[in-house]
Each structure stands twice: as structure tokens, then as C-alpha cells.
């Protein structure tokens, strides 16, 4: 649990760093913050 929290903190810290070494890291703006895989409903009608 502690390790997971540490990892989360580390990720969060990294995400706020921009332009370091000319690598720009940006969080994707998304309203649906849940597990996207869990929510996948139906993609079988995607044909033309």
C-alpha cells in the first residue's frame, strides 16, 4: 500500500514537470476518470 502511494506521488511529481530536458509531459484532460477498460461497452457497431 505504502509502495503504491509512493509510486503515485512520484508519478504526480513527474507529471507537473514540464520542459525538463526538453521533454514536455502533459496530463490528458478527460472527464471520465474511471477505469476506461472497465467501462468499455460495445465496439462491435463501429463498421460502416
Amino acid at each position: 500500500m505504502k509502495k503504491a502511494e509512493e509510486e503515485k506521488m512520484k508519478e504526480k511529481k513527474e507529471s507537473s514537470v514540464e520542459n525538463e530536458d526538453d521533454i514536455e509531459i502533459i496530463d490528458i484532460k478527460l472527464k471520465a476518470e474511471k477505469n476506461l477498460e472497465e467501462m468499455k461497452i460495445d465496439r462491435s457497431e463501429a463498421c460502416g
Partner: protein, 445 residues
């Protein structure tokens, strides 16, 4: 050449990586982040190590819930005559009997699954209201947690839609343009001016129904697409799912030119963004949910029951009379009162993952497009093992553009219109939460 846009794009240790003209942009579904960096930095081992360190290459979270997913093709009959229709009605249309629908549903039990996702499809499924209502009642009486969905052309009586709304359905409303354009591409003898669509659109929006408009884009309606998005926005529509038509030798004139298609789409995305419309397309669906298979059915996670009592892996294969028999994976035996499943065929179809196509081997978009629709591939190339090159080059361009747009939008603190599918699925998921006990009574106006 439009194709040259994607020439420098790469598959970077499992992630899509696109060249925006100055730098590379990498998309990580696991991290829900984009990274922009120079060509020189991209090739450094220390860059990969750093990205690894922040979890950029981890696989996305996996699903934990066990969901029974099935589709009932209630009838092959339809009251429209779409110019691109794929349904085979060589003699007379088939209708699924209500008793047979129940027999199918009895194959699934809440003892084995956490949840049921049931879709109704056609033809036009509302032309078989008996089987539709019987199925709904059965599910309500036997399941605690479920989601209902229907794809309809909007021609049914409002009272039937109200009944479905009261059952908390979410809808796919097929509509290829404003009523005038729609009636050219999807003629309806009885209500040829297409005004029935305006009634149902207004009704859905007024009642806060969760729905998407499903547009099939052809050479006939392509030029009107941006204008149609504005029209939908004025009605209060939130989600538009568009796909380019799948053609064969008899209707290839309906396929727009690549340049026209891309140019109009770019304009359409702009109009959608300005009007708070989310666009849904197969090129965008898996940007944040990478996958090996194009659709759930071929992956073996969803099966479809045809009215002639066969089991199909594709909504377009609605009868055993298809020439693409690989998609038919079973049938009902009335003598044994059981479903006979062809496991070998299921396995063959399941093998149609992105790893099976040699053309996809080094493609930057492989985990997003997953080789494309197998039915479309066989229709276009004559083989399940080959990919449709027309749609392949289009999707590469769309995915390339989408990743750049996600970067630009996220940098500006905005949600991208092309991530609509994730938000739409989130809204559907909300509908099912808590199951029957938490369903609210609806007042329909």
C-alpha cells in the same frame, strides 16, 4: 500525398509516436499522458528509462467485472431503403420469435455473470415490438444489474420510444444528415420528408435520454457533415458517431475520395469542438484503451443471435445465407433444444488480432486500430487475413491527427472532442450502477 503525413510515425516500445513536423508526440494510455520531445531525445536510452520510471509503458488497467454481452437481431425487416444496406432479404424478412428470444436469454444467468449488457438490433428492431418487450420483461425479472441498448432509425411511434426510455435504454439513432439529406440516403416511403427525425431528436433531448447519432458517411452526404454537426448541436445533441461506408463492387461509387473525406472531417472536428459535441469514430475509440482486436465480438466477448436462429460474430452478418460463413459460429437446434457452438470457428476468428496481419507489424497505430473491422477487410480484399488498405491509410491519418489534437487540447486545458467515446461509455456505466434497486422512475414529457 496525405499518406506522407504519417511517414515518420513510429511504434515506440508499444506506444504510438507521431511526428508533428517539429517534434515527436507519444501517447500513453496507462499514464493518460502525452509527451512531446525532440527526435534526438527520443532515441536516447536514458529517455526510455525515464519514461519507464514514470510508468509510461505499463499496460492499461484491466477489467474486473464479468459481463454477459449479447445482441438480439430482432428482425432483418426495415422500413427504410438505405443506399448502402447490407442486409440480405432475398425472399422475405425474418422476425425473431418472442419465445426464441427468451430461450436465448435463458442461456445466461446472473449466477455466472455480474451484469448483463443486452443490445437490440435489426433491420429495424422496433418492427418487432413483441420480442423486444418480452425480452425486456424477462431481463427485469431475472437480473439485478443490466444495461439495455437499441439501434433504431427513429421511425417507431413515440409511445414505443417512451416505453424504452422508461426502461432506461440508451439509444443509437441512425441518421445520415439533416432530414432532407437523410431522406436522400435513407429513403422512407411513408414519411419521406424525414420530419419524424426532428420529432424524435427533440423528444430525446427534452427527456435527457442518453443517445448517440450514428452517421454513415458516403460520397452523397460527406459535404454536409459539418453543417449536420451544427444542426445536431442546435438540437442539444451531445454525441455523434460517424463511420465511412463499407462498400463492395456494386456500390463503390458511395465511397468518398480520401482527400475529400479527410478535409471534411478536419472541418467537422472543428465545428464539433466549437459546439461542445463529442465525436465518436472507430479510429478514436481505442486511443486510451489499446486492444488487440477491433471489436468485442471477434474477440469472443460478445455474441449476436440472428432471427433465423444462428449465432453470429458481426452485426452485418444476420443470416446463415451469408457468403462470409466464418462469422457464423453456431446455431440453435430445436430437436435438442440447445445451441451448437463451433469452437474451432470461434478460435479461428479470435486469431484475427492485430498480430495476425503482416501489414500492421510496425504500424504506430496498431494498438488503436487493431487491424480494423474483419468484415470490412474481407468485403474489400476477399480475405480475412488481409486489411482494407483504403480504411487503413485513412485511420493512420486520423490517429496521427488525433494524437496531435489531444496534445494541443490537453496543453490548453481542454477536453478533446475526439475522446467522446470514453465519456459516452462513462455515462452508460453510470446508468447501470447500483442495478435495479437504484433505478429511478422517469417522468416523460
Amino acid at each position: 500525398m496525405l499518406e506522407n503525413i504519417t511517414i515518420q510515425d513510429k511504434f515506440y516500445y508499444g506506444l504510438p509516436c507521431v511526428w508533428d513536423g517539429e517534434k515527436y508526440i507519444l501517447l500513453s494510455a496507462r499514464n493518460k499522458r502525452v509527451i512531446r520531445l525532440s527526435k534526438e531525445l527520443l532515441v536516447l536510452p536514458s529517455t526510455k528509462a525515464r519514461l519507464e520510471d514514470i510508468g509510461f509503458f505499463k499496460n492499461p488497467e484491466q477489467r474486473k467485472n464479468n459481463v454477459a454481452r449479447l445482441g438480439l437481431i430482432l428482425t432483418t425487416a426495415c422500413n427504410l431503403k438505405c443506399k448502402y444496406c447490407y442486409v440480405i432479404n432475398d425472399y422475405s424478412p425474418h422476425f425473431m420469435e418472442a419465445e426464441y428470444a427468451i430461450r436465448i436469454l435463458k442461456e445466461y444467468s446472473k449466477k455466472n455473470y455480474d451484469e448483463l449488457h443486452l443490445s437490440f438490433f435489426g433491420g429495424e428492431p422496433t418492427l418487432n415490438p413483441g420480442a423486444l418487450k418480452t425480452s425486456i420483461e424477462y431481463v427485469e425479472n431475472h437480473w439485478d444489474k443490466y444495461i439495455f441498448h437499441i439501434t433504431t432509425n427513429g421511425t417507431a411511434e413515440t409511445s414505443l420510444y417512451d416505453y424504452l426510455i422508461s426502461k432506461d435504454f440508451y439509444f443509437t439513432l441512425s441518421m445520415d444528415g439533416t432530414p432532407k439529406i437523410n431522406s436522400v440516403q435513407r429513403p422512407y416511403s411513408k414519411k419521406s420528408n424525414g420530419n419524424y427525425l426532428e420529432n424524435i431528436l427533440g423528444h430525446f433531448v427534452r427527456n435527457d435520454v442518453l443517445f448517440q447519432i450514428r452517421v454513415t458517411v458516403t460520397s452523397l452526404n460527406l459535404g454536409h457533415f459539418p453543417e449536420f454537426i451544427k444542426y445536431c448541436a442546435d438540437y442539444g445533441v451531445k454525441y455523434i458517431h460517424f463511420e465511412v461506408v463499407s462498400t463492395n463492387s456494386t456500390n463503390s461509387h458511395l465511397l468518398p475520395s480520401k482527400t475529400d473525406y479527410i478535409n471534411v472531417l478536419m472541418k467537422a472536428i472543428e465545428v464539433a469542438s466549437k459546439n461542445d459535441i463529442f465525436l465518436i469514430n472507430s479510429a478514436y475509440m481505442n486511443l486510451l484503451t489499446p486492444c488487440d482486436h477491433f471489436c468485442r465480438s471477434v474477440a469472443g466477448e460478445k455474441i449476436l443471435y440472428t432471427p433465423d436462429k444462428y449465432i453470429s460474430l458481426c452485426y452485418k452478418i444476420q443470416s446463415h445465407k451469408t457468403k462470409y460463413t466464418d462469422f457464423i459460429i453456431g446455431k440453435y437446434s430445436s430437436v435438442k433444444d440447445s445451441f451448437e457452438i463451433d469452437r474451432e470457428r470461434i478460435s479461428k476468428m479470435k486469431n484475427l488480432s492485430v498480430y495476425s496481419y503482416s501489414e500492421c507489424k510496425d504500424c504506430f497505430a496498431k494498438s488503436i486500430c487493431a487491424g480494423g473491422c474483419p468484415e470490412r477487410n474481407i468485403t474489400s480484399t476477399g480475405s480475412l487475413g488481409k486489411i482494407d488498405k483504403w480504411i487503413c491509410s485513412i485511420k493512420k491519418m486520423l490517429i496521427h491527427d488525433a494524437i496531435i489534437k489531444i496534445y494541443n487540447h490537453s496543453k490548453a486545458g481542454k477536453e478533446s472532442a475526439i475522446l467522446g467515446n470514453n465519456y459516452y461509455e462513462f455515462k452508460i456505466h453510470e446508468k447501470s450502477r447500483g442495478g435495479e434497486n437504484e433505478r429511478k422512475e422517469r417522468v416523460i414529457c
